[in-house]
């Protein structure tokens, strides 16, 4: 079924900045005068847990994306990319950070966990762009800007103009970090542009 609007699911680990990323996309929609709906994880679930932000660009109805109807999945962690991969539609695209943080339970309870090459192989059935957002963020001037790097990489797929996204970055990040984040967005956009699709 073709769902109304363009559905973006951002996933990661509590504390990685999924909420700021969702704010930037929402702000870009306001700049372009488009409707937008979203939903996200708050409260205790944020404490290092798996988190998700739903954004429905041109959305008019409910805020939640149904499984297998996301047009774009942006994953700040590779394990979370796999966990939420069933949300992606058959034609959907995935932008994933190669970085992988294993849950503490893996160590405390000796649970088997997939490693990077295995996950990448499993995700190959989707249109995947995997990049080292942590390294690119470091190069941009702050490891905290990895979320904006990911948006830059995703900007090729998003139905929003890069100018609106950049303006939304400027409006949404703390004033002192605008320069770093603009750089992070541009470096991410470059990395996303050279991804094989």
């Amino acid at each position: 079924m073709s769902m109304q609007g363009y559905n973006v699911l951002i996933v990661g680990i509590g504390g990685q900045g999924t909420i700021l990323a969702s704010n930037i996309l929402g702000e870009a929609c306001i700049i372009e005068g488009r409707h937008v709906k979203g939903a996200e994880t708050h409260g205790m679930a944020q404490r290092g847990g798996s988190v998700e932000s739903h954004i429905r660009i041109d959305g008019l109805f409910g805020p939640l994306i149904a499984p297998k109807t996301a047009d774009l999945l942006i994953a700040f962690d590779l394990l979370e990319a796999l966990r939420y991969s069933h949300y992606l539609s058959t034609q959907g695209e995935m932008i994933a950070n190669r970085h992988l943080v294993l849950p503490t339970s893996v160590y405390t309870q000796n649970i088997a966990a997939p490693q990077e090459p295995e996950i990448i192989a499993a995700l190959k059935k989707y249109r995947l762009c995997a990049l080292d957002a942590d390294q690119i963020a470091q190069d941009a001037g702050s490891p905290l800007s990895a979320n904006v790097v990911m948006l830059g990489a995703a900007s090729h797929a998003l139905p929003l103009s890069p100018a609106s996204l950049l303006e939304a970055v400027r409006r949404s990040v703390p004033k002192k970090t605008v320069e770093v984040n603009v750089r992070a967005f541009e470096k991410g956009r470059n990395a996303g542009g050279s991804c094989q699709r």
Partner: protein, 597 residues
């Protein structure tokens, strides 16, 4: 009223931010509440305004909050009181009778429901409370509607002279969307309490009359809510879908053109209005979250018309709805031929990533010491970040705020022979823990009470409490002494220790274990998130691989900063906050603070 600069503005906002903005447009004069997901951001937004014309407090609990706000509404001010659904249980006593006394200033009680219990202990439905208390209830289905309803609710409350309950759910409070906002308004209302004992002193002779008046208001309210257009019905065919709240958004997305659509946004529902629309159809299905509140009323007026809903298994009685769930309901009822949402199966057997106590959290260190000293004990606990101690095996019970101490004394008094050690956070202790402590001491229970004192209400987003030292709006205030409260309750053994000092913690617990009666150990250390925000930096720790014996002690400690590396030796990652507890518990002495070169 003085209007400020701008008018209509469109912004991308969290539901709770839009609700807060609506309060500024109303404008509200007096705001109280107790934090609780998903309601907390409303006051957090209001209290962070640079300029404000309202009084704002985080109260010690919901009953206190509601009574404070009620008093302000008795003085003619516009008052808001916020809480989560279970908070309304705590505030239920004043709520029920405030419907009798009524109000003069507009009084809005926001009680946020949490279908699927994303961050709650149950899935109760605030609409039932509104029904029970005989007060109007507004139930938004979109963020824009939430904004508009709250803005108008104060005037509605003044018109009916009754508190109005505003009941958003998680998918409203924590959803985002483009919202059209009005102008902020500065209030110049002056409080004046007009003495009227027949209204405000609910002795039997007065309350009997007040109850009659409340009942007489009901039909007026129902008619007025119809006029105001909160409840709507579009007739399109012989099938009628009745919805409320966020379910309306899911239904709308997939509703065929030839099916009628009714949305309930305000209660009590006018029966004659409801009947007139229901009776125009051959079949009706009611799709709502939580209790069958609308369904019950539809069934009462439907006559011979078949009604589908929760009572015959078409709609789930628990959990939250979603587009795929609503679509499946509509397929089952025969409204749509097939589910438009594709089947999707998550990748199986991935390691779960539940929320976890932060690296360097004082609670983990305290729980570790409790386990070391009381290895075969019963551990009642409470509501807060520390409920995550479940993963560490030191949380045996939680029911509601403050129930750690009472459950502990109940278990001990039952004759259970094992030690009983309960844990409760500072904010929860001040919320409803003190009475339990007083009761346990007075009735000679044998328990150890551990107050996990991080000086803040952390889980809901770091709201200050009377233990923090400043009010909601940042005004300095003397922090209460938990030691003095404990002693005043009659506790003679009160010890305060630093959870980062493992030997002292162990000694305090050993001393407590050796004594009879109620023992209080206050484990005091700043929340690691507050500490980071305050700029406190402690050096990171690392593992000397040649000394590490791969014994796994630090791994089992469960800190997210500690990983298992090569040869099962420990490795400390970037999350390390420098609390030093792992270094103190390492039997080989392999963990040391990193020396900066």
């Amino acid at each position: 009223m003085v209007e400020q600069g701008w008018t209509m503005e469109e912004r991308y906002l969290l539901g709770n931010e839009a609700i807060a903005h609506a309060c500024i447009e109303a404008p509200v004069d007096f705001v109280t509440g107790y934090p609780g997901t998903p309601s907390s951001e409303v006051i957090d937004v209001l209290r962070s305004q640079e300029k404000r014309s309202s009084y704002i407090e985080w109260s010690v609990n919901e009953k206190v909050a509601l009574e404070n706000a009620l008093a302000a509404a008795w003085c003619g001010l516009r008052a808001l009181c916020t809480m989560k659904h279970v908070g309304l249980n705590v505030a239920a006593d004043p709520l029920m009778t405030s419907a009798y006394t009524g109000v003069t200033g507009g009084f809005v009680i926001m009680s946020a429901d949490d279908p699927f219990a994303h961050s709650s202990q149950n899935e109760q439905d605030t609409r039932c409370y509104a029904h029970f208390a005989k007060v109007p209830c507004l139930d938004p289905s979109t963020i824009q509607e939430a904004h508009d309803m709250v803005r108008d609710a104060f005037a509605l409350s003044e018109e009916f002279c009754l508190p109005v309950i505003f009941r958003p759910t998680t998918r409203i409070c924590h959803s985002k969307g483009d919202v059209i906002l009005g102008s902020p308004v500065v209030s110049n209302r002056k409080a004046e309490f007009k003495k009227d004992p027949r209204q405000y002193v609910v002795i039997p002779a007065h309350t009997r009359i007040l109850h009659k008046k409340l009942n007489e208001k009901q039909s007026v309210i129902k008619k007025r809510l119809v006029e105001l257009g909160y409840n709507t019905c579009e007739i399109k065919g012989k099938w009628l879908v009745v919805t409320s709240g966020i379910a309306a958004a899911y239904v709308r997305e997939i509703l065929p053109d030839n099916v009628s659509f009714m949305k309930i946004g305000a209660y009590p529902i006018d029966e004659s209005w409801l009947k007139s629309f229901v009776r125009k159809h051959d079949r009706v299905i009611v799709i709502e979250e939580l209790s069958p509140e609308v369904e019950d009323q539809v069934r009462q007026v439907a006559g011979d018309i078949p009604v589908y809903g929760k009572k015959d298994g078409y709609v789930p009685l628990e959990g939250e709805l979603s587009l795929p769930v609503v679509a499946a309901i509509m397929v089952k009822a025969g409204i749509i031929p097939q589910n438009p949402c594709p089947d999707a199966v998550p990748v199986p057997n991935l390691p779960p990533r539940p929320p976890i106590l932060c690296a360097g959290c004082l609670h983990r260190a305290t729980f570790y010491a409790i386990r070391r000293v009381f290895n075969d004990a019963i551990y009642p606990s409470d509501i807060g970040c520390y409920t995550l101690g479940l993963q560490l095996g030191v949380v045996d019970t939680t029911i509601c705020m403050g129930a750690s101490i009472t459950v502990a004394s109940g278990i001990a008094k039952s004759g259970e022979p094992r030690d009983v050690v309960c844990s409760i956070g500072d904010s929860t202790f001040l919320h409803t823990g003190i009475q339990g402590l007083l009761n346990a001491v007075y009735n000679n229970a044998n328990i150890t009470v551990v107050i996990l004192d991080n000086r803040i209400t952390a889980m809901t987003g770091h709201q200050p409490n009377p233990n923090t030292g400043h009010t909601a709006c940042g005004i300095e205030s003397n922090p209460v002494s938990l030691e003095a409260i404990s002693r005043a309750c009659g506790v003679s053994f009160v010890e305060t220790v630093d959870p980062y000092d493992v030997p002292s913690m162990l000694e305090a617990f050993r001393n407590a274990k050796a004594r009879k009666g109620v023992k209080v150990v206050i484990a005091r250390q700043q929340c690691v998130i507050s500490a980071r925000r305050a700029g406190i930096k402690r050096g990171r720790f690392s593992v000397a691989l040649d000394v590490c014996t791969s014994c796994g002690t630090c791994i089992r400690f469960g800190c997210p900063a500690i990983e298992k590396g090569e040869e099962d030796k420990a490795r400390i990652n970037d999350l390390c906050s420098g609390c030093s507890v792992c270094a103190q518990i390492c039997p080989a002495g392999a963990i040391q603070r990193e020396v900066k070169r």
